[in-house]
C-alpha cells in the first residue's frame, strides 16, 4: 500500500474530517446549546416565579378588568363585566385606529412637503425646509407633550367652545360634530358605497385600456368621486333616510351626543403624522431627485404638461426609490404610537401593558402578548409594502 492510499483510507474512516459532515456536526451542537439555553431560561423563570409566589399563566385574561377606559371604539365595554381580554382588544383597536390614520396623514403630509421642498419658489421651498428640519430634530415625546399640553389644552373651555355653524365645536376637550345613528335599512348605504368603489376600479381599468388603444383620456377621478358620493345618496333616498342625526348638546360638564374626537387622540395623531411626515418628505425628495433631470426635459420636449410630467413620468420612477425606505417608516409610526401612554391615550401599551399589567401583576405574559402584537403588525406592514414594492419595481423585459 502506498502512503497516499493509506491517507485516503484514514480519511474515509473518520467522517469528522469531511468538511460537509463537520459543518453539520457544528450546526447540531449550536442548535442543541441554544435549545438547552432556552430550556434553562424558561425553567429558571418558572421556578423563580413559583418561589416568589407569583402566579403565572394566561388565566388572567378571562378575569373582569374592573377599571374604566377613556376611549372605546367599535365595542361595548363595562368595567364590571368586561375582561382583560376585552382590554387587550380595545387596546389593539385604539392602537390600529391611531396608526392607520397616522400613516394616512403622514403620507399625505410627506408627499406634499417632499414636492414643495423641491419647489423653485424660494418662500415655499424654505417653509418646507424649516418644517422638515425643525420637526425631525425634536424628540417625538416632546412634540406629543407640546401638542397635548401646549396646544390642545389651551383651546377654549367647553362653555366657550369655538363653534363652526351650530353643530361643530372645538374646545379643550377635543372636537364635537353631529353623529349618524343608523336605523332599519341602513345596510343599503354601505352596500352602495361598496358597489361604487368596485365600479370605480373597473372604470379605471377600462379607461386605461381605452387610452392605450385610442389615446383618449377619460376623467376617471371625477367619475369615481361622483359615483362614490351619488350612489350612497340614492340608496339613502330609496330607504327613506334610514338614519337619525344626533347633534352635540351642552351638558353640565362637557358636550354630550354627537361624535367627538378626544384631545388625547388628536394630539397623538397630530404628533405622529407631523413627525413621521417630515421623514417621509425627505424620502420623497430624495426619490424625486434620483430621477434624472433628463426625464423631465424629455417629457417637456414631448409637450407633456407640468402636472402630468410629475404624475406620469417622475413619480412612477421615483416610487422605486421611495418605497423601500417608506417601508420602515410605517412600522416606526405604529411603534411610536406606544408613546400614547404619556398623554393619556388608551392604546395597547397604556391600558394593557400598563393598567392590566399592574392590576394582575402578570408582567411576563402581558409584555409577551404586547411584543407579539407589535411584531405581527410591523411584519404585516412590511409584507404589504414588499408586495407593493415588487409590483412597482422595474420589470425587465
Amino acid at each position: 500500500m502506498t502512503a497516499e492510499a493509506a491517507d485516503l483510507e484514514v480519511a474515509k474512516l473518520s467522517k469528522f474530517r469531511d468538511p460537509r459532515y463537520r459543518a453539520i456536526f457544528y450546526q447540531i451542537v449550536v442548535i442543541a446549546l441554544f435549545i438547552l439555553f432556552v430550556a434553562y431560561v424558561s425553567h429558571n423563570t418558572a421556578v423563580n416565579l413559583e418561589k416568589r409566589g407569583i402566579a403565572s399563566g394566561f388565566g388572567f385574561l378571562s378575569q373582569p378588568s374592573g377599571f374604566g377606559i377613556g376611549i372605546v371604539l367599535l365595542m361595548d365595554y363595562s368595567s364590571q363585566t368586561s375582561t382583560h381580554l376585552d382590554v387587550l382588544i380595545i387596546g389593539i383597536i385604539n392602537t390600529l385606529a391611531v396608526s392607520i390614520s397616522g400613516i394616512f396623514f403622514a403620507t399625505l403630509i410627506g408627499f406634499i412637503f417632499g414636492v414643495l421642498r423641491l419647489s423653485k419658489n424660494w418662500v415655499v421651498n424654505k417653509i418646507a425646509a424649516v418644517y422638515i428640519e425643525v420637526v425631525r430634530n425634536i424628540p417625538l415625546l416632546v412634540q406629543l407633550m407640546f401638542w397635548y399640553f401646549a396646544v390642545l389644552s389651551v383651546l377654549p373651555l367647553v362653555g366657550d367652545s369655538i363653534s363652526i355653524g351650530d353643530n361643530f365645536f372645538i374646545n379643550n376637550r377635543g372636537m364635537n360634530f353631529p353623529a349618524i345613528i343608523p336605523s332599519d335599512g341602513f345596510w343599503l348605504i354601505p352596500v352602495a358605497l361598496l358597489v361604487a368603489i368596485v365600479a370605480s376600479v373597473m372604470i379605471s381599468k377600462w379607461a386605461s385600456k381605452r387610452q392605450d388603444l385610442t389615446g383618449q383620456i377619460f376623467p376617471v377621478f371625477w367619475t369615481s368621486l361622483g359615483l362614490i358620493i351619488i350612489l350612497p345618496v340614492i340608496a339613502s333616498f330609496i330607504m327613506g333616510g334610514p338614519f337619525t342625526i344626533s347633534y352635540p348638546e351642552f351638558g353640565r360638564f362637557s358636550i354630550n351626543g354627537g361624535w367627538s374626537l378626544e384631545p388625547e387622540f388628536l394630539a397623538l395623531l397630530l404628533g405622529l403624522a407631523i413627525y413621521t411626515g417630515a421623514f417621509i418628505a425627505e424620502i420623497v425628495r430624495s426619490g424625486i431627485n434620483s430621477v434624472s433631470h433628463g426625464q423631465t426635459e424629455a417629457a417637456h420636449s414631448l409637450g407633456i404638461r407640468g402636472s402630468f410630467t410629475m404624475r406620469l413620468v417622475i413619480l412612477p420612477q421615483a416610487l422605486r426609490v421611495i418605497v423601500p425606505p417608506l417601508t420602515s417608516q410605517y412600522p416606526n409610526l405604529t411603534k411610536n404610537s406606544s408613546l400614547a401612554t404619556a398623554i393619556g391615550y388608551a392604546d395597547i401599551t397604556a391600558i394593557f401593558a400598563g393598567t392590566s399589567l399592574n392590576q394582575t401583576g402578570q408582567a411576563i405574559e402581558v409584555i409577551l402578548i404586547t411584543m407579539v402584537f407589535y411584531l405581527s403588525i410591523s411584519l404585516l406592514i412590511s409584507m404589504f409594502m414588499n408586495w407593493y414594492n415588487k409590483r412597482i419595481a422595474l420589470v425587465e423585459r
Partner: protein, 338 residues
C-alpha cells in the same frame, strides 16, 4: 424607564440563581444602606426639599429603618417609582422596601408576592374639583371627565363607584401624579381623584389652593403601608416592628426630646423594654438593642413624624382623624412590644 423595570423583573426572574436567596438584612448590612422605593414626589409623603434631600412621612419610615439597623437615619438611598413601576421594582430586588403610600389589598399581598408590614396611614379615595364648577357632592359628577393615575387601586374604585351610582364618566389616565395634576389644572378634565391625602398634598402645591374643593365623599378604604418581598420573614419583621415601635412610642409618650431622660430614669417596664434597657427585643431582630431608641431619638415617634410632615400647621394641614391612637379616638393600635 418603565421598559427598564419590566426587563429588570424579567431578567431577575430569569437569571437569578435557583438556590435560596441571601437574607435581605445581610445584603443591606453588607452594602451599608437601604434602597428604599418612594414616590416620584408627593408633598408631605416623599418629595425632595430645597436642598435636594428627600423628606416626608414615607421617607421617615425609611429613615427609621435605617436608624434601627445602622444607628444612623441617613443610610438610605431613595428610588423614585411611579405607581406602575413600584411593584416590579420591589419584585426584581431593585429596592429593599417600598414606602410609597401603597394600598394594602388582597391581590397585592397574595398574588404579586409581597408582604405588607402594617398600615402607616389610613386613607380613603376622594374627589377634587374646581370650586367654579359648583359641584357639592360626588353624586353630581355624572358625565364628568376624570383624571386618574394609572396602576392604582384608584382606577378600580372609580369604576366601582360610578357603576354603583348609575353614573357615567370618561377616564383620562396618566403615569405620574404630576401629569395628572397638570391635566386637571389645564381643565382637560373636571375631576382629580386619588387618595384623599394625595389630594391634600396636590392641592397644597397649586397656585391657588382655595379655588379647589375636596368633595365630602370618601369612596373606599385605603390602608396605606410599607411592604417588602414575600419570603424573607426576618426582613419583614424588622420593617413591621420599626413601624410598630414608632406607633408604640407615641402611645407611651416617648418623644425624640424626652427619650434620653426616659431611658435613664423610667421605671415603666414597657418603656424599658422598647428602649432596650431591659429584655433583648433588639437582639431577637438581629439588631442592636438600642434599635427602637435610635428610631425615636433620630427620627421621632409616629405622632412627631405626622405633625412634621402632614399635620396641622404644615401646607397639607391634615387632621389626625383615623390615624389617631386607639385610645384617643383613632384606630392606630400597635401590638405590644414584649
Amino acid at each position: 424607564m418603565k421598559k427598564a423595570s419590566f426587563i429588570a423583573v424579567a431578567t431577575a426572574a430569569t437569571f437569578m440563581a435557583t438556590a435560596a436567596t441571601a437574607a435581605t438584612l445581610d445584603d443591606v448590612k453588607a452594602k451599608g444602606f437601604i434602597q428604599c422605593g418612594v414616590t416620584t414626589g408627593l408633598a408631605g409623603f416623599a418629595a425632595p426639599n430645597n436642598e435636594g434631600q428627600w423628606v416626608g412621612f414615607d421617607v421617615d419610615f425609611c429613615r427609621a429603618m435605617s436608624a434601627a439597623i445602622f444607628g444612623d437615619p441617613d443610610k438610605v438611598k431613595y428610588t423614585p417609582t411611579t405607581a406602575k413601576e413600584r411593584f416590579t421594582a420591589l419584585q426584581s430586588g431593585e429596592i429593599d422596601v417600598l414606602a410609597r403610600n401603597t394600598t394594602w389589598t388582597f391581590s397585592r399581598d397574595v398574588n404579586l408576592g409581597f408582604e405588607f408590614v402594617g398600615v402607616n396611614y389610613y386613607d380613603g379615595q376622594g374627589f377634587m374639583v374646581k370650586k367654579a364648577l359648583g359641584v357639592k357632592s360626588a353624586k353630581e359628577l355624572d358625565g364628568a371627565r376624570v383624571c386618574v393615575q394609572s396602576g392604582t387601586t384608584t382606577e378600580l374604585n372609580l369604576a366601582d363607584y360610578f357603576t354603583a351610582n348609575g353614573m357615567k364618566y370618561d377616564s383620562v389616565v396618566f403615569d405620574t401624579a404630576d401629569e395628572v395634576r397638570e391635566a386637571y389644572l389645564k381643565d382637560t378634565c373636571d375631576v382629580y381623584t386619588t387618595d384623599a391625602s394625595g389630594l391634600y398634598a396636590q392641592r397644597s402645591v397649586v397656585a391657588d389652593p382655595s379655588a379647589h374643593i375636596i368633595l365630602p365623599e370618601i369612596i373606599s378604604k385605603e390602608p396605606l403601608g410599607p411592604l417588602v418581598r414575600h419570603g424573607d420573614n426576618e426582613w419583614g419583621d424588622i420593617a413591621r416592628w420599626t413601624l410598630n415601635a414608632m406607633i408604640e412610642a407615641e402611645e407611651l409618650n416617648i418623644t425624640s426630646s424626652n427619650v434620653d431622660t426616659l431611658k435613664a430614669e423610667t421605671e415603666n417596664p414597657s418603656i424599658q423594654r422598647i428602649l432596650g434597657t431591659s429584655g433583648d427585643l433588639g437582639q431577637q431582630l438581629r439588631l442592636d438593642n438600642d434599635w427602637a431608641y435610635n428610631i425615636v431619638k433620630l427620627v421621632g415617634n409616629y405622632g412627631e413624624s405626622f405633625a412634621r410632615n402632614l399635620g396641622e400647621g404644615t401646607d397639607l394641614n391634615i387632621a389626625r382623624g383615623l390615624n389617631q391612637q386607639w385610645n384617643k379616638g383613632g384606630i392606630l393600635y400597635a401590638p405590644p412590644l414584649r
